[in-house]
Symmetry: C2
Subunit: 307 residues, 2 copies
C-alpha cells in the first residue's frame, strides 16, 4: 500500500484536478491573481533522524523549503522542538504518524501502549507498513494517538501550522480520513488533502467547500533515475499549473546514520533524500521558480484563511 | 547523581576490594590459577545510536571488546537484534535502562506508559538524570519495566548473557538494587556488582555468597585528558590486580549522529567514545594485555557457573 500511495502521488503530479467550486480561489483569497501559481515546498519527516533534521533546518533557513512537518513519536523530537522555539516564524506542521517503516530503527506511539493496541505490531512498535496498519488500526485508537501527538507537540513549545499524514495512512480508509479531518478541523489546522478524478466518493464526500484543498501534489517517484532528479523537479516547475501546489520533498544528508536507517530501501532512502536536498537548494531550481513566476507560500498563509 | 556514579566508578578503579570469601575464587572456579588476572572488556550502550552499534559491533568482531550490553528501550534495538541473531556467540547482555539522558534525542519505556508513570518526566520520556529518577521512581514500576525489557529482548531473538544498569540507577537506592538483583537471579543472569569498602550496608547486605561479584571496575573519567587516554588504559592494564575486573567502555564513532546526540555533554560524549574505541582496538592495548598476562573472559563464562 505504500507503493499505492506513491502511485497516487504520481497521479497527483500528472493530473490537473478541479479546484473546489468557490466564488474565490485560494490564490484570490490570499490576494493573488486568480491564475497565480502558488507553491509550498514541503519537507516531510522532521524528527526521524538527526540527518533529516540538519538538512531540513538548513533548507528552511535558506528558504529553499517553505514548510516542513514533524513526526512527534520519533526520538529526535526534542531537537526539532528546540529549533521551533529558536525559529518561531518557521512553518512547521505535524506529520501525523501511525507507522514506523524502517528495518533497523523503530518507534512506538506517544499514547500509552495499552490505550492504542491496534496500532502496534508484535514488537510493540507502530506498524511497519500500510497494509497491516490499514488492516488492524481501529479509528478511535488512531484518533487517540494523533490527539496525543498534537498535545505533546504543543506541550514541547511547537505551534503547528498544519497537519499531514506520514505514509498517507490516513487516506487509506474512510474512517481514518474522518478522524484526520475531525482532529484537524477541531484544532483549526489546515491539512494536506487533494482531490483527483478517481478519488473514491467515500473520501471526497468528507471534504466540505470550506476546506482548503491542494490542487496538485508533486513528489519524486522510484522510476525517476538519479541522474534525472534535477530535470524532474525543473520540469515540474516549468509545467506548474495555476492554483495551489505542494512539492513534497524528503531532505537528509547521505551519511552513515541515514544510510543505516534506510538500509535495504533505496526508495525514499538516504541518497534519494540527499538528491532532494541538492536539487531544492540549487541555483538552477531557484532560477526556475523565478523564471516561471512561481509564488512561494506557506501553510501558515493558508491557516490565516481559517481564522 | 550521575557525577556521583562516575565518582564511584573512579573509586572502583582506584581501590582494591575484597572478593567474597569463598572456598574457591571465581578464577579458580573458571579453571584458572587463584592469582589470575581476569578481564572483561565491556561496551555499554548498544542500541542507543547507529554510531554506537557500528563501533561496538566492530570491536566485538575484532575481539577488542569481549562483551557488551543493550539498551532495550532505544530506537536502534532492531539493528542490535539482527546482529545478535547473526552472531549467536556474541556476548550480549541487557543494559537495564530507566533513564534517557541526552538533550536532543530521547526515549520512553518499553512498558505501557500508564503502568510505569513514576518512570516518566513531564514529556513522557524516561527521566533525564539520576537525581529526579532516584527521587521519583517506584521500585515496583522499575521492576515491571525491566521485566518488560528482558521479555522484549528475548522476543526479538536476543539471548542475554548478563545484566547491568544504565547510569548505575539501580545502585542508587536499596529497593532499586533489590529489584535488580531479584530479576537477575530469577532469570539466572549474572549481574554487574562490585563491593567497595564504603559500600553502604543496605546495598552490600543484599549480596549473597552465591553471587559472583566483580573485584574491580575501571572506567575513564572526565579528569583524564584526551591526550592521556591511551596512557590511562595502559596503566590500568599494567596495574591490574588478580581477580575479576571489568573495563567499562563506551564505543562510538565521532560522527554527526553521535555529536548531535551528545551535544553539550563532552563527558561520555562523541569524541570520548571515539577515544575509547581507538584505544581498545589499538595494537598497543593488545600488546599490554599480552605483556601483563591478562586473561580475557566474558559474562557467558560467568553465567556457566550459575547453571
Amino acid at each position: 500500500m505504500r507503493v499505492a500511495w506513491f502511485a497516487i502521488a504520481i497521479q497527483f503530479a500528472c493530473l490537473v484536478t478541479t479546484a473546489q467550486a468557490q466564488s474565490k480561489t485560494t490564490a484570490e483569497r490570499l490576494g493573488y491573481p486568480r491564475d497565480a501559481k502558488l507553491l509550498i515546498i514541503h519537507a516531510d519527516d522532521l524528527a526521524v533522524a538527526h540527518s533529516e533534521d540538519a538538512a531540513s533546518f538548513d533548507a528552511l533557513d535558506r528558504h529553499a523549503a517553505t514548510s516542513a512537518s514533524i513526526m512527534v513519536p520519533c526520538p529526535w523530537l526534542t531537537e526539532v522542538a528546540a529549533y521551533a522555539k529558536a525559529h518561531p516564524d518557521a512553518d512547521l506542521g505535524l506529520h501525523l504518524t501511525v507507522t514506523s517503516e524502517w528495518k533497523t530503527y523503530r518507534w512506538g506511539p506517544v499514547e500509552s501502549k495499552d490505550k492504542v493496541p491496534s496500532l502496534l505490531d508484535s514488537e510493540g512498535y507502530l506498524w511497519a507498513d500500510n497494509d497491516p496498519a490499514t488492516k488492524n488500526i481501529k479509528a478511535d485508537e488512531a484518533e487517540r494517538e494523533i490527539r496525543a501527538q498534537i498535545e505533546k507537540a504543543k506541550a514541547m513549545g511547537i505551534r503547528p501550522t498544519h497537519v499531514d499524514s506520514h505514509m498517507g495512512e490516513f487516506f487509506e480508509r474512510p474512517d481514518l480520513l474522518g478522524v484526520y479531518l475531525k482532529v484537524a478541523r477541531e484544532n483549526k489546522l489546515p491539512f494536506l488533502a487533494a482531490l483527483m478524478p478517481d478519488t473514491p466518493k467515500e473520501l471526497s464526500s468528507q471534504l466540505s467547500p470550506n476546506d482548503i484543498v491542494l490542487d496538485h501534489v508533486v513528489m519524486a517517484y522510484p522510476e525517476v533515475r538519479a541522474g534525472d532528479w534535477q530535470k524532474f523537479y525543473l520540469d515540474a516547475v516549468k509545467n506548474l499549473k495555476p492554483g495551489l501546489t505542494e512539492f513534497i520533498v524528503h531532505l537528509a544528508h547521505d551519511d552513515a546514520e541515514m544510510q543505516a536507517i534506510t538500509t535495504g530501501h533505496p526508495d525514499y532512502g538516504s541518497a534519494w533524500r540527499q538528491r532532494d536536498y541538492d536539487v531544492i537548494t540549487s541555483p538552477e531550481f531557484k532560477k526556475a521558480l523565478q523564471d516561471n513566476h512561481v509564488i512561494l507560500i506557506r501553510w501558515s498563509d493558508i491557516r490565516k484563511l481559517l481564522h
